[in-house]
C-alpha cells in the first residue's frame, strides 16, 4: 500500500500523537464522563489507522502487524475475563463482583474495578478495530496482486 503526499504526512505526524493521548484520556475517565472503553478504543485505533493510511506499508509488514494486534486483542479480553472471574474467589464469591474498595465518587481512582475494565476494553477495542482494518487491507492487496 502506497503512502500519501507530504502535506498529509506532515499533518498526520502533528496530530496522531494528540489523538492517541485523547483516546487514553477518554478511556481513563470512562467511569466519570461520557465515553469509556469503547469510544476511547475507537479513537486509539483511529490514530494507528491514520498513520498507516498516510505513510503506507508493505504487504509483509501489514501481515506481521495483523498478527501482533490479534495477540493483543486476545490477551486483553482474557485479562478482562480473569478480572471478572476473580470475583468468584474473593469476597461475596459472585461472578463480576466489584470487590475492590469503591473510593469517593468523582475521583480518578474510584469505583473499584470499573477503570480496570475500561482500560482492558479500550485495548481490546483498539486492537480489534485495527485487526479488522488490517485484514480488509490485506484482502485488498491480495486481490490486486
Amino acid at each position: 500500500m502506497k503512502g500519501m503526499t507530504v502535506i498529509v504526512k506532515k499533518t498526520t505526524q502533528l496530530i496522531a500523537g494528540i489523538i492517541f493521548l485523547y483516546g487514553i484520556y477518554i478511556i481513563l475517565h470512562g467511569h466519570l464522563t461520557p465515553g469509556g472503553g469503547f469510544a476511547g478504543g475507537v479513537i486509539l485505533a483511529g490514530s494507528f489507522i491514520l498513520l498507516i493510511l498516510a505513510f503506507g506499508s508493505d504487504f509483509l509488514h501489514l501481515v506481521r502487524e495483523e498478527r501482533g494486534s490479534t495477540l493483543y486483542e486476545n490477551l486483553a479480553i482474557l485479562i478482562f475475563l480473569l478480572l471478572a472471574l476473580s470475583g468468584l474467589l474473593v469476597g461475596a464469591k459472585i461472578f463480576f463482583t466489584n470487590w475492590l474498595p469503591h473510593g469517593t465518587p468523582g475521583e480518578l481512582i474510584s469505583a473499584g474495578f470499573l477503570p480496570l475494565y475500561n482500560i482492558f476494553v479500550g485495548i481490546e477495542v483498539a486492537a480489534s478495530i485495527l485487526t479488522i482494518f488490517l485484514a480488509l487491507v490485506i484482502f485488498k492487496e491480495e486481490i490486486l496482486k
Partner: protein
Amino acid sequence: MMNPLIPLLVAVPLAGAFLIMILGRFITGVPRIMALATLLLLAFISFWLLITGGAASSVYTLGGWEPVDGVPIGLYLIHDGFSALVLCIISLIGLLSVIYSISYMARYTSENYFYSLFCLMIAGMNGVVLSGDIFNIFVFLEISVISSYALVAFGVEKNELEATLKYQVLGAVASFMILFAIGFIYWSAKTLNIADIRVVFGEGGQGPHYILIQILLLTGFGLKAAIIPFHAWLPDAHSSAPSPISAMLSGVLIKAVGIYVIIRLFFNMFEITVGMAILITTLGALSMAAGVFLAIGQWDIKRLLAYHSISQMGYVIMSVGIGMILMARGIRSEVAALAITGGIFHMLNHAAFKGLLFLNAGAIEYSAGTRDLREMGGLARSMPFTSATSLAASLSISGIPPFNGFFSKLIIIVAAVMGRFYLLAALAALVSIITLASFMKFQRYAFYNTEPGKIQKEIREVPLPMLLSMVTLALICLLLSLLALPGIRETVLSPATDILMDQMKYSSQITGM
C-alpha cells in the same frame, strides 16, 4: 448461596476460545487439545447441573445486584429444567463434533481459528440458553451467529462464500427485527428482564404495540430457526459448512437460538393468546409438510438432510403450538402438557440423530470424495461402521421403534389426537412415512446398491476419532428412547414441561413475589 457453576458455563468456553488463539500461535497441536478439554469440562458441568439441580431452578445474579422492591436490576442467569436439557445437548453434540473434527479438519488450514470460533459459538449458545434478560439474549445470539457465519465460510470456496452471504444477509435482517422488538418492549414495559416484563404485561401494561412486538420477535427468531417462509438460507448454509459444523448448526444452533428462545418467550414472557398459538401451530405444520416435500427431490446428501431439519423442527413447533392452543383455551391441561413434552423430547432426539446423520455424510464425503447420491454405491461393504450408524439414525428419524424418534413422534401424534387435532395428527403420520421413503432412498443409493458406483478410487473406513463419535451418537440415539419410560420421563422431561406450563412460576422465582 448461588451455584458458582452457572456462570462458568459461559466463562469457560470464552476463556478457551481466547487461550486457543494465544497458545495456538506458538505451539502446534494445542488448539484441538484445548478445545477438547473445554468441551469435556462443559459437558461435565452441564450434566452435573442436570443431575444435582433436578426439578429446582436456580437463579444467578451477576455482580450480586439484588432486586429492589421486587423489580430486578442487573443481569440474571437462570438454570431450570428446560434450559438444563438444552445445555446438555449443546455440550454433548459439541464434544462429539470436536472429537470428529480432530481427523476431519486435518485437511483444512488455520486449525486455531476453527477451534476458537467453535468455542465462541458454544459460549454464545450457552449464554442464550442461560440468560434471563431479553437484551442479553440478543447479545449472546449475535456472538454465536457471527461465529457461525465465519464457520460456514471456513472452506473459502465459491459455494461456501455464497451460502454464508445468504445466511448473513438474512441473519442480519432478523437481528435488526429482534433489536427493534426489544426497543418496543422497553418502550412499553420499561424493563428488559423477561420475568419482570411478564409481570408488567400481566398487569395490563401491554401497550399499543403488543401484537407488533410478538410478530417482530416471531419473525426474527423464526428466521434464525428457519421456519418455512423464512427457510431460504438453511439448505445452503448447512450443506456448505464443514460436516462437524453442519452437525452443530443443524443439531444445536437452530434449536438454541431459534426454537428455544421462541418457546421461552412465548410461554414465559407473553401471555398466551389463541390467535398467536394458532399462528405458531400453522407455521409448524407448514414447515413440517413443506420441508419433507422439498427434501424428496434432493440428490446431494447434505442438502437432503438440511431440508429434513426444517421438517423435523416443524414437528417441534407444531406440537408446542398444540400445547399453546389448549393452554390458551384453558381446556385439557394434561393433553397440553403431553404435547409440550413431546415437542421438547423431539427436540432432544433431533439433536442426536441429525447430528449423527451429518457426521455420516461427512464420513462419506471424507472417504468417497462426493456428496452426490447418484455417484455412490455399495458403500456398506467398504464402510461397515458408517453404514450401520447411518442406518440407526435413518430409522430413528423416520420413527421406527426401538429408536428414539419413534417415541417422540408417538407422543406428538397421541397428543394431537387427544387434543382433537385429527388433521394435524394425520399430517404428522403422513410426513413421517414420506421421511421414511426419503431415507430409504438415501440408504439404498449410498450403501446397499449392488452395482458399483462411479467412484474409481478405493474406499476405506474413516479414522478412529470419527468412528468413535459416530458410534457414541448412535448409542445415544438408542439410550434417549429410555426417556419415554414413565419413571425417567418424570425426572428429566417433566421439570421442563412444568416450567413452561406454570406461567407465573418463572417470574415469581426472580421477582420474589
